[in-house]
């Protein structure tokens, strides 16, 4: 458009673009100069960025994307950061590995570090089954109380953590198997009824004068006492639960105990020695030991 054709808007004195809708004209107000310069700068920046950094995806022959001359990638950055973190923690981590569990628990600074590391590792790996703070659930032992099926000492907890419970691939795993007395027809339903009635009396939940409980005593001595002990006091070396206390992993009601005897309960825990490093296992042992006071 030549100059003398310029359409000037009267009230503002600004040139129009020549576009008009329903009598409304568009004014030609240019962008502010500072805005334009920043815009040009971003364009220049984007070109430099595309050259240096990985930018254009899926070019034929280039694999996934243009790699950029900076040799830069998020994956590598994360790996480098994790490495930094590992080196940063290596000092205290190796101190955890070198020290015995008793030393960790009595050395204030090591203990505080182990507790913090153990708490976060517990949240990541253990809380899924054992609950936050080791509160437990039916079938998943509560770690905050004083009942330990296998062992509640520091070393015992560490062993359980490393090798798991009934974790077949680990030859040193803690293993025991209660027979399924009902399902495998070792006892009749009536016999199971009797023995459950007896077991209920061991923890003061049943009726001592019950005939069934009396009949069950003999069955208990023959079938159960070899593992659970003559008085039902359990045996931690083979993971046989104490039947005289108030703690029932799979429930202490009559039907629940009946179910346990009929089908047997053999829960699993994976061996964490395969997945976690030494320092983490030790930190976890100390943390779990502190939850309910351990043994």
């Amino acid at each position: 458009m030549s100059d003398h054709n310029k359409d000037i808007d009267q009230p503002t004195g600004v040139e129009t673009t020549g576009h008009e809708w329903d009598g409304i004209k568009e004014l030609n107000n240019p962008l502010p100069r500072w805005w334009l310069y920043i815009w040009y700068a971003t364009i220049a920046f984007s070109i430099v960025y595309m050259v240096i950094m990985p930018a254009i995806p899926a070019l034929p022959g280039l694999g996934t994307n243009t790699p950029g001359i900076g040799g830069h990638s998020d994956r590598m950055n994360v790996a480098a950061e994790i490495d930094d973190l590992r080196t940063g923690r290596a000092g205290t981590g190796s101190m955890l590995v070198d020290a015995s569990l008793e030393e960790i628990e009595t050395d204030r600074s090591l203990q505080q570090f182990a507790m913090a590391a153990g708490e976060s590792a517990f949240g990541d790996n253990c809380a899924t089954c054992h609950g936050a703070g080791g509160r437990g659930a039916k079938g998943y032992p509560t770690l905050a109380d004083d009942v330990w099926l296998w062992s509640g000492t520091l070393d015992g907890i560490e062993y359980t953590l490393r090798h798991g419970i009934r974790h077949d691939p680990d030859p040193e795993t803690r293993f025991s198997a209660m027979p399924a007395f009902g399902r495998d027809r070792l006892l009749t339903r009536a016999e199971i009824d009797d023995v459950v009635s007896h077991v209920m009396t061991l923890s003061g939940r049943g009726d001592d004068d019950n005939d069934a409980a009396g009949r069950g005593e003999d069955i208990f001595a023959a079938q159960c006492a070899s593992c659970h002990g003559p008085n039902g006091e359990g045996d931690k070396t083979i993971g046989a639960p104490d039947l005289t206390d108030q703690d029932w992993l799979f429930g202490g009601e009559y039907d629940e105990v009946y179910n346990s005897v009929y089908n047997a309960r053999n829960a699993h825990m994976p061996a964490w020695g395969e997945r976690l490093d030494d320092a983490t296992i030790k930190a976890l042992s100390v943390y779990v030991h502190s939850l309910g006071g351990g043994e």
Binding site: T12, A132, G133, G134, R135, A144, H289, S290, G294
Partner: protein
């Protein structure tokens, strides 16, 4: 008198010339003033710059393991050191209190003396004044500067301009550099800064503050006060008709006009319209137009006017710190009354005193040990094999003292709970002692068990911690959860 036409004309209005919506900045060339307020400002500038640049270098012996810098915001160590006072993150309310105190202090001073903060103490004022002083050293006073700016570029002009900017940047760098000294060990950072071994954040903040100092004090100046700063608006709203503000006494000055030596002063005002007050003004206003938003109340116009009044043989104080009510009273021939004691000044004073005493009381009486008991939320309780109920707690002990302590922990005896601390051997009849490291936080895990089988929901007990050495006792009431009825 020109006729004002209120009847709209029938012909269409003429097309106005295209107008820029933004007015270009008018360059201001403040002239050097001489007088008592100028002197006060030089002194204030010297003291304030001295305080800013020297304080990081002051040392304060605090003993081993703690920084010896008198004023230090130690972010890495999570401490704030102010001479003998050490603020922990848990005590950030002292900093909030200090802010509130400073705000009310400004309210009080503003209601008494107007915008003295803007005029004398604001960093923008202090550094701009310093920058103008440098500018004057290189380019001369007002008239010379105006001539220089109009003159074509040459060696002389370029040398003066470049020299000025170099010194400005140097001052800006020293300003930005001094700022980081408040956040790190000043000696260490000064040594490592120039060999490239200081933390990245130090370079970043030094650079940022160098840039802002140069931009704000060198190139933006009064525009910061007029357009960027919200404080003049707030402060201007806080002053009232009884506050002492820089005021042109129109009752004495008008009608103004040139005055020849020997002429009578009868029937005219004292203002001879010499415009000295306008020429010295760093924000470029004419104080004779009355109170204005731009005015930073720096009183340089008072100095300029007083000088002129002396030469023409009239009393000084045509422009002075005065109140609106006083000027209005004099205008109608009444005796002005000054009321410094007013409801609002008394209120501010009382508030300030109250907050300051509260903070001083808190600071003087704060203990060097802090006890926090956090109850486990998960599990809320566990049933032990014996059927008793046990709760877990985390005990946090903050020791702000420089030495290790030992705290004896127990449960107030009438409550009957039993207490065990994980990792500490409990011998019946012997006290349970918890060591607490100096200058740090120690955590302990507590296990508390009920005395009885039956429990009913929430109970409470008192945890008692006794400092073995001083006998200082802290009690903490906390809850105990058991299965509900």
């Amino acid at each position: 008198m020109p006729q004002i036409n209120l009847i709209p004309s029938r012909s269409p209005p003429p097309v106005p010339p295209p107008q820029d919506l933004y007015a270009k900045r008018k360059q201001i060339y403040p002239k050097l003033a001489h007088g008592k307020f100028r002197t006060v400002k030089w002194v204030a500038m010297g003291v304030l710059l001295g305080v800013y640049y020297l304080i990081p270098w002051l040392r304060w012996e605090r003993g081993a393991g703690v920084p010896d810098q008198a004023v230090l915001a130690d972010f890495a160590g999570e401490r704030f050191f102010f001479f003998g006072i050490e603020i922990w993150p848990q005590e950030a309310y002292y900093l909030a209190g200090l802010m509130i105190l400073a705000a009310i202090g400004l309210f009080l001073v503003t209601s008494l003396f107007g915008r003295v903060w803007c005029g004398y103490a604001c960093p923008q004022t202090v550094w701009t004044d310093l920058y103008i002083w440098v500018e004057r050293a290189f380019e001369g006073d007002r008239a010379k500067r105006i001539r220089l700016d109009k003159a074509p570029w040459g060696l002389n002009k370029a040398a003066r301009k470049i020299g000025k900017h170099i010194v400005w940047v140097l001052i800006a760098f020293v300003t930005g550099g001094a700022f980081i000294l408040y956040f790190h060990d000043a000696r260490l950072i000064a040594q490592t800064f120039f060999i490239g071994e200081a933390p990245l954040s130090a370079y970043w903040f030094a650079g940022l503050l160098t840039f802002t100092t140069y931009a704000l004090a060198g190139t933006m100046r009064e525009q910061v006060c007029t357009y960027l700063c919200p404080w003049p608006r707030i402060q201007a709203a806080l002053t009232d008709e009884d506050a002492l503000n820089v005021t042109y006494r129109y009752d004495r000055g008008e009608p103004r006009g040139p005055h020849r030596k020997g002429e009578s002063w009868q029937g005219r005002g004292d203002c001879i319209d010499c415009k000295q007050c306008v020429q010295v003004c760093p924000v470029g206003i004419d104080i004779r137009d009355g109170p204005q938003l731009e005015c930073i109340h720096c009183a340089l116009c008072i100095d300029a006017c007083d000088g002129i009044m002396k030469t023409v043989g009239r009393p000084t104080g045509l422009i002075a710190y005065d109140t609106d009510t006083a000027v209005a009273a004099r205008a109608v021939g009444m005796k002005p009354k000054y009321r410094l004691v007013r409801a609002r000044t008394v209120l501010y004073f009382v508030l300030m005193t109250a907050i300051a005493s509260l903070m001083a009381f808190g600071l003087l009486n704060r203990g060097t040990i802090e006890v926090n008991v956090l109850k486990d939320r998960s599990p809320p309780y566990v049933r032990l094999s014996s059927g008793l109920i046990q709760n877990g707690y985390t005990l946090k002990l903050v020791n702000k003292a420089g030495e290790t302590r030992e705290m004896e922990i127990s449960i107030a005896d009438d409550e009957g709970f039993t207490l065990k601390v994980v990792g500490i051997e409990t011998v019946a009849g012997e006290p349970i002692l918890l060591p607490v490291a100096s200058n740090g936080v120690d955590r302990y895990r507590l296990l508390v068990t009920t005395p009885e089988q039956a429990s009913d929901g929430r109970q409470h007990f008192q945890l008692v911690l006794t400092d073995v050495e001083t006998g200082e006792i802290h009690t903490n009431r906390t809850s105990f959860m058991a299965p509900g009825e």
